[in-house]
């Protein structure tokens, strides 16, 4: 294993079953700190499932069973003394459809702070600072500084998706998981999110699931190709797209299935 400074997420022999159906088999992967890693593969190959393993949200369903090891930021997340609360603060997720809460922009951004601190410990001034910082970081501050009170669900989709990212930031996450974050957005919106990802790169480890090959090539440093619950190939994006080692990868990126 490389030093903890190298890999943010490591899985070893990870299997996941939905009831009797095995959705992930024997996944061993290492995801680099501070880079953008994309996951590609045909529909139903388990990208979302794998992504959701990294902060243990799959466990919400009681018919899900996981075996193997998942090490996030140097810590096996199945250790009994790992706190799910702390884990999820560090590993945030962005969903396919933007899911801002039906409250104001401001309240969306400070939502995490509010649930993780005592009411008395939160000063209005601190919250204001946190909002400005988070919105600036995702590039929304200029547009929304005068509209912090509007309901977040009335924003444009692109702004909503950025807001969903901003909502994670006050908790100081280190990993951000994105499940097809652009699939509900138009070209402009997609470019906006991609530019934001470049902004965030370095400070955060980003894992993004995408069906858009061009996006994977443009936006990611490393790529993972999955097929039927198995990891087929994991390489720097250039290599994976230009000279894939596995014939199945080649077939997929040439568009022969999926």
């Amino acid at each position: 294993m490389s030093g903890p400074g190298e890999l943010s997420i490591i899985t070893r022999g990870l299997n996941l079953y939905y009831g009797a159906f095995q959705a992930l088999s024997d996944i061993s992967v290492g995801i680099r700190r501070g880079l953008i890693t994309s996951m590609i593969g045909p529909s139903g190959c388990g990208k979302t499932t794998l992504l959701r393993c990294f902060n243990r949200v799959n466990e919400r369903y009681d018919y899900v069973r996981t075996t193997g090891e998942i090490i996030v930021l140097g810590r096996n997340i199945y250790d009994p003394d790992v706190s799910l609360i702390e884990l999820r603060k560090s590993v945030g997720m962005v969903f396919q459809r933007p899911n801002p809460l039906p409250v104001s922009v401001y309240e969306n951004v400070v939502f995490g702070l509010r649930i993780h601190s005592d009411r008395s410990a939160l000063k209005r001034a601190d919250l204001d600072v946190a909002v400005e910082k988070a919105l600036t970081e995702v590039g929304l501050w200029k547009d929304l500084r005068d509209r912090l009170k509007v309901k977040a669900t009335t924003l444009q989709l692109e702004q909503q998706q950025k807001l969903c990212i901003a909502r994670l930031l006050p908790l100081k996450p280190e990993v951000i998981l994105m499940d097809e974050p652009c699939s509900a957005l138009d070209v402009e919106g997609t470019r906006g999110i991609e530019e934001l990802m470049f902004e965030l790169k370095g400070r955060y480890t980003i894992v993004i699931v995408t069906h858009n090959m061009a996006q994977a090539r443009r936006a990611s440093d490393e790529s993972i190709f999955m097929l039927m619950g198995k990891l087929v190939e994991h390489a720097p994006t250039e290599d994976l797209f230009l000279n894939p080692k596995n014939p199945k990868t080649l077939e997929y990126i040439e568009g022969r299935y999926g």
Binding site: P4, V72, L73, G74, I77, V82, S83, I85, E86, S90
Partner: protein, 303 residues
């Protein structure tokens, strides 16, 4: 990451997280306790009733007639009477209620007229049963001249259950995702075709549940039938499945329970309890059937 200290400390419970988790655990226990608290009375009631009813319980009790001025014997006429009342009232209320709900949910636009109908439905559901009884007496017994009869009593029960059936059916219809309807409209299906092909098949289990829950209500009410068609005693053939005509008066379980508990002296002690068990048992049986049917239909529907 030297700055965060030894990596084994990652994701360790902070004081804040521990507090959150403690609060979460307390909440879970409180909610769980309330859920249990709800089950306890049910078990308590059933056990107590069974215990007190034991000497009378049996097939004989069900099919025999009340004897010696209802002080001994069984409850057959009351049992069949309740079957009549519940069946007829739901046979009237269910179709009307379901069709009205389909209109309100699928066709009606949001205008003042339909809002008025909505308001009427909601308020009708809140009318006390004794008021329904009085209405049934005036409308069916006297105005429509059905007299004191099974027909009047069933119609009164139907009026009483109708608004609730409408409300529960609407809820079931509303739970069918809008996208399914749009898919239909966009291949040129009419609203009626959409309802038949998509809306009803996917909401039928909810609709049926709503209707069947009204069985227990219709079976349990005393006031509406007492005003309109139920009597203390009516002689019928032992075990006869069709002893009544629509124009007859009939006995009913709820009424019989009232009678033997309060109106007749020196009743064999276990008889009121056994009557209650039969009433409760029939209702639970119907509900259990409904749940089974629902589970079966749920399994076929998936989205």
């Amino acid at each position: 990451m030297a700055s965060t200290g030894p990596t084994t400390q990652r994701f360790a419970r902070t004081a804040q997280a521990a507090r959150s988790e403690r609060a979460q655990k307390v909440a879970k226990w409180v909610f769980g306790a309330m859920a249990l608290a709800m089950v306890a009375p049910l078990i308590g009631i059933v056990t107590y009733l069974l215990y007190r009813a034991w000497p009378s319980l049996g097939w004989e009790f069900l099919v025999d007639l009340p004897r010696k001025g209802m002080r001994e014997g069984g409850i057959w006429p009351a049992f069949v009477g309740t079957l009549y009342l519940v069946t007829i009232s739901l046979a009237v209320a269910a179709p009307i209620g379901v069709l009205a709900a389909i209109y309100l949910n699928e066709y009606a636009r949001d205008n003042w007229f339909n809002r008025l109908i909505n308001l009427a439905v909601i308020n009708l559901a809140g009318v006390p049963s004794i008021v329904h009884a009085l209405f049934g007496l005036g409308a069916f017994v006297y105005a429509a001249q059905f007299g004191f009869s099974i027909l009047s009593a069933s119609l009164t029960l139907a009026i009483m259950t109708l608004p609730v059936i409408i409300a529960s059916t609407r809820e079931a219809l509303a739970s069918v995702p809008r996208a399914f309807r749009e898919a239909c409209w966009n291949v040129g299906a009419t609203r009626w075709q959409t309802i038949r092909a998509v809306v009803l098949p996917n909401s039928i289990s909810g609709i049926l549940t709503g209707i069947i829950l009204q069985v227990s209500r219709a079976a349990g009410e005393t006031a509406p039938i007492m005003f309109t068609g139920a009597v203390f005693y009516k002689a019928v053939q032992r075990g006869d499945l069709f002893p009544y005509r629509l124009g007859d008066q009939c006995m009913a379980l709820s009424m019989h329970l009232y009678t033997v508990s309060t109106q007749v002296p020196n009743v064999k002690e276990s008889i009121p309890y056994a009557t209650a068990i039969v009433l409760l048992g029939s209702v639970l049986l119907v509900n259990a059937t409904a749940i089974a049917a629902r589970v079966f239909m749920r399994r076929r529907k998936r989205w």
